[in-house]
Symmetry: C2
């Protein structure tokens, strides 16, 4: 399919670059709603959907498996009630990140014991003992992992499950026999001891460390940049994951579609948290609402538009090489909410470094108001 069929005639200075940029790109079809593709293709999953298992009193909905992402990463949504839990364990090869979507969670992380709520984030490098327990009647966690060896834990420990919420009566205990089996089939080692009975501390940290160590981050914190009317916050940058991934929060008001573009090297993943957004993914246009997820592999043409007065999404980008794009485009920002008056959208800074930044742009940005 010709690019102009998808995006309309190209304009001005962009036309030449774009014709070149788009040459030879295979515009793949987006996988139909609710399907995990089983190979690396663009796809999306609506709130609640996914490959579901009942494990530890929770519903684990796998929204990305290794086979869906070129083995770059996996993601699961864990939904449970009070006392649903996961015992103390360590991953040898997988770097995990947790983002709390709802409710309240006790997290044991490398000797610390935290109380987490919606918006709090945890980075769990390889080799870090961790465990969690849900405290709210409706608790939901987004778990993101590098590689392909975490999803099999849920498959081994759990039972396939057709429901979308945990049963009202469920035993959160997992047998030792199953734990052993999981250790044999996935990247997990369970600790024999129970997590400490100390009093959990509310997450208040606002600093992303300068090296790969376990850390938590309070909701809204992270290294912040602004471009136009959007606020970008790094919850995890390249240096805390050895370049494996970056985690970026984006928030802003309703605005125009950003320019359609693609990346040669890295995969982008969008998880909508507040408001709604329109996503262009190759030849499809999706409207995403809170809880919806879109997987955009390298060489997928895409763009997004924020639709509501307050729209927020978390992006996981892997491998972690796109941080310089945000740092080039954005201005440092001390605020914790998108600016009342948009900053300049300095796309000019980016245009001269497109290859270096892993960016192929197919359109000019919308004129700024």
């Amino acid at each position: 399919m010709a690019l102009t069929m998808v995006f309309g005639p190209l304009q001005g200075a962009y036309a030449q670059d774009t014709e070149k940029a788009g040459k030879g790109i295979d515009i793949q079809k987006v996988v139909p709603e609710g399907k995990l593709p089983g190979q690396q293709l663009p796809y999306y999953i609506r709130n609640g959907e996914g490959e579901r298992y009942l494990v530890g009193g929770m519903v684990a909905a796998l929204i990305a498996r290794g086979e869906d992402t070129g083995e770059h990463f996996e993601a699961a949504i864990l939904t449970g009630g009070k006392n649903a839990s996961f015992p103390l364990h360590t991953h040898a090869r997988s770097h995990e990140a947790l983002y709390i979507l709802d409710g309240e969670v006790e997290l044991w992380l490398g000797g610390q014991h935290y109380l987490m709520i919606r918006g709090d984030y945890a980075s769990i490098p390889q080799g870090t003992p961790h465990a969690f327990k849900m405290l709210g009647h409706r608790t939901q966690i987004l778990s993101w992992n590098t590689g392909k060896e975490i999803g099999p834990i849920y498959k081994t420990l759990g039972q396939p499950f057709a429901g979308y919420v945990q049963p009202e009566k469920v035993n959160p205990d997992i047998s030792k026999e199953l734990l052993k089996k999981a250790e044999a089939s996935a990247d997990v080692r369970f600790e024999s001891k129970a997590p400490s009975k100390s009093t959990p501390q509310r997450v208040r940290n606002g600093v992303v460390p300068d090296k790969k160590v376990p850390y938590v981050l309070a909701s809204g914190e992270g290294q912040r940049l602004v471009a136009g009317d959007q606020l970008f916050s790094f919850l995890g940058d390249q240096q805390v994951s050895d370049g494996k991934f970056i985690a970026v929060m984006t928030e802003g008001p309703a605005g125009p579609m950003i320019p359609a573009h693609y990346h040669e090297k890295h995969t982008e993943n969008f998880f909508c948290l507040d408001g709604s957004m329109t996503m262009r993914v190759n030849n499809e246009t999706l409207t995403m609402y809170p809880g919806d997820f879109a997987h955009v592999p390298a060489r997928t043409i895409h763009a997004y538009q924020l639709n509501n007065h307050y729209t927020r999404f978390i992006g996981f980008l892997t491998p972690g090489l796109f941080e310089p794009f945000f740092r080039t485009l954005g201005d440092k920002y001390d605020g914790y909410v998108y600016p009342q008056k948009p900053y300049p959208f300095r796309f000019d800074r980016v245009l001269s470094k497109l290859n270096e930044l892993d960016l192929k742009v197919l359109e000019a940005p919308a004129a700024q108001k």
Copy 2:
């Protein structure tokens, strides 16, 4: 407009009742999106919209004013960042309820000091001193009040504001002069003392009191009933507000539209929290997403349908007289999440008491799966 034009031909045993029930009802037009009607008409407000003021470091978006609700109630969405606050005060005539939508809030309530998160609820009867302070960078509270004398507080203390989020730099202090002015024009009396510096306690309470006293309720708690596949939780029942209002949480999976109906005496208000729902309001069909609000006055034909695998909305019904409907229809339920297998939908229990329950039904329920 004939009822059959709106709802299609009536079926079976309902047809006769319905023709009678709908006779003479004035099918009012729904007010266009984003408009507060200034008189009691059905209307809806999208997430973020409303009449907005900047006050105490927060954006107060009035989504229902006394003049929009027949002076039954008012509602506002308060959006702010860390340290936005409201000083210690008392309402002599207005009963207030707070529901936390996002972030973290310190609430001082009649000598107690609480830490509240998303889903926690507080009931604040007349004469109860209270104050709050926001702790999260993105904190949002739904404030619901009986009567018409609370909205003017925001108008007096604040400035009209075109934005949707708080400015990144904002002074949360309100001058004593303005506080005095508010006391003269609205139902508020400010206390001269500051709230206590005690350590706030996380809200863990699960019991709604048996009389009108101040209380808080942890997310997911309340007196629970189930009907079909939906879970109803009373956050506030008739006895805790002297019959002024009830607050009911509804959650469930995607399902059919409930039967179209209307009420002669009470007004219903729907605030979507999770997932999405379709609302029929007279001759309009709306899709509601988290943060959207619909006001359905008495004698407005309406019905709702839950669209997502986990959909949740909070309803405020005033005056508080519809509690017996839920108690007649529903079965007592110990769980905290909607049932995996639907319970019987015992509409038959309701049909013989329609007048007593303030219910005029225009359709038969969908056949149960």
